[in-house]
Subunit: 414 residues, 2 copies
């Protein structure tokens, strides 16, 4: 018997229909959390879920759940999902794919008249992006107890409007409490270049990199660029540039998927003929191992001391975020790999460099993710693109990994 | 006979009185070119010059000249001066010192009833700073034919007001044409740290550094900091940081008073977790030798090519300004050195890193400058500071260098 496959064309049609809600002129999507178009997207998802015979509900932070019953009333549901909100200049696939893939799994099970032992539930988490209301991964953070509900409801956008007000305004403030989860699967575009570069269809995600974020202030002394000899300078930008290069060197030389980035840098007074007296910059390190991550940070602090002395500046390195690495559940990761193998898709183990709702879910339930390639590794951009074939392949893998976990209670024979 | 000395106390009082015009809360001066307070400063200077028996006039770009006749009607005047306008957060001495020192020389000659062979003329050049109306050194630039009068009159401030309109509004649009200059002397605070650091009272200025200014654009590729492995990045900020360090290295290793500065740097998209795709930065090099300056620029272009290849970015280096180095007149420089020696002041040869009106004047007349120390080398700042003793010493040197050049026709014996 040929293995069951999802309807890739239907999945693509749903993605394209969803992408019309908040569509931008350049072919992307702007569907900020709890905006009118987020409501439209939610309405669309709820309508589709009900058409598929699912029972929908909304919790106190607006997370949506669509349930397909299983044969075992006591079994905790197998959760499949991601998010429907987007970046201000986002694409069609980031988040939307995971939710639509969950829906497509249920539609496929319906078509095949397959009943599972454990219930299957599709989740759309509130405000994963955090673009309008920080912090990101808000809905999954509340669901997993990382954030208190009241904290999340009180967050404000730049206009001072709260999450609570907007949830109530768009009619998606529910009352449900977090419920037990048997396992969590999230399908997502890679948002990186590895799968495309290696011509791989399926990324078997092992976990997510830990992250440590820093605010760095380099203080030197403003001076006139003309009259001030080189040996009398305390140039904050020369010192900051050495730090930028050290961050890159550390990330290039340390093992365990090390990353290091200075994404933000501001110069004062930022005048063409004034030696800069101050630089404020971000630094972030990521690593799959918390021990290696710590070693990277220790190396950074060590070289910062060297640069301080060499450039006669002071350097303040202040940590603002520390996410430890996440390890996804080995048995679930193995089921994703096995599904990819059985279906004949090229696949490779990969680690998520970015945060996802799955990172929080992994704190309360066995969790796995499935990555599919995206063009040029580009996302958070209106040009974000993925092929129908790759998206269908990822959904096929999701289907079989879910079936392996949920258990087949009965199926219609072909 | 003891050498003639200026009245240092009177010089200090004039500087302090002038500094009240446009005084800032933090003890500095805001006297932007052609503003109401610039008019007040000009009025004050004209009144003082007339009290000292001088004949005042204003040329078509608003440069002020106050003439003390000499005994030789055919001799071109010996010009002494600087500027009365300031930076937005300027100090009490930058520019003002050179004009008040010129006035004090004349007052001292009056007190001593000394008549010179050549006339002595004190100049206050319009808009040296260029803070309100670019370019700087505007009045001396027009006087020396660097800029056309119409070009200068048409320059606008940020509100769209022209130089011509403001000159007319404040009543300082004259009609005089440039006249012959026998020599030009400008006393100025150093605006750098060398004299203070070496405990030297008088800087004997040899000339001014040449300058070459560049706009640099580094283009890489935006990418997510999490999912993008280090070896797949085209990080514009890493490349720019290497350039900053190379600029510093070049300026530190080349001879002839080399300077190199990146004062401005802007990152795009400047987001904490996005690998920067673009950096725009300034670069400027200065040197006393035009040949060494060219060699520095060639070395910079060479390393930019290396960085382009190493970081897989493109780097556009565009020159926007080229001032060749100025050599002041050796005989005038020698007269400044001789005056400092004869008066018993510690002195050293120095080169001006910054531009001054003297740089333009040196194109049409033998020119010299006298530097005095300023606290911490700081200027263009409200905390700019200099001591009455050092200012008087510089003015004494100015007096004797001017007398040597103008020639003494007659003097009252003590």
């Amino acid at each position: 018997m040929k293995p069951l496959r999802v309807n890739g064309e239907r999945l693509w049609r749903s993605l394209m229909e969803l992408a019309r809600i908040g569509a931008t002129a350049k072919g992307g999507v702007k569907r900020l959390a709890l905006s009118d178009v987020d409501r439209e997207g939610r309405d669309r998802f709820v309508a589709w879920a009900r058409e598929a015979g699912m029972q929908t509900r909304c919790d106190a932070i607006g997370n949506l759940f669509a349930l397909r019953h299983g044969s075992d009333a006591r079994a905790a549901p197998i959760l499949l999902g991601s998010h429907l909100d987007s970046q201000p200049s986002g694409g069609k696939f980031d988040g939307a794919y995971g939710v639509m893939a969950g829906l497509e799994v249920v539609r496929t099970l319906n078509d095949a008249a397959i009943s599972t032992r454990a219930p299957i539930e599709v989740a759309a988490w509130t405000n994963e992006e955090g673009s309008r209301f920080p912090p990101g991964m808000m809905g999954s953070g509340v669901f997993t107890g990382v954030h208190a509900l009241d904290f999340a409801l009180a967050q404000k956008d730049l206009d001072g409007v709260t999450v609570k007000e907007e949830l109530e305004r768009i009619g998606y403030r529910g009352s449900g409490q977090p419920h037990p989860v048997g396992a969590y699967f999230e399908a997502h575009i890679e948002q990186g270049p590895v799968l495309e570069a290696t011509r791989t269809q399926i990324g078997v995600v092992q976990g997510a990199l830990g992250q440590r974020w820093f605010d760095v202030i380099v203080t030197g002394q403003d001076a006139h660029a003309g009259p001030t000899p080189m040996d009398k300078r305390q140039d904050a930008l020369v010192a900051a540039s050495r730090l930028v290069i050290e961050v890159n060197r550390i990330a290039t030389t340390f093992p365990d998927y090390a990353r290091g980035t200075v994404g933000q840098l501001q110069v004062k007074p930022n005048s063409r003929n004034v030696v800069p007296g101050e630089v404020r910059m971000s630094t972030e390190f990521r690593n799959a191992s918390d021990a290696t991550l710590l070693a990277m940070v220790e190396e950074y602090r060590r070289v910062a001391k060297e640069v301080e002395a060499a450039c006669r500046v002071s350097i303040d390195v202040r940590e603002i975020v520390h996410f430890p690495p996440s390890q996804f559940a080995p048995e679930l990761v193995a089921s994703v790999r096995e599904a990819a193998r059985a279906l004949g898709f090229s696949h490779r183990d990969i680690i998520s460099g970015a945060g996802h709702d799955a990172v929080y879910l992994s704190r309360v339930a066995p969790t796995a993710m499935i990555f599919v390639p995206c063009e040029g590794g580009i996302s958070h951009n209106e040009t974000e693109s993925a092929t129908p074939q790759d998206l269908a392949a990822g959904c096929d893998v999701l289907l079989h990994a879910v079936l392996a976990r949920a258990g087949v209670a009965s199926r219609q024979e072909a």
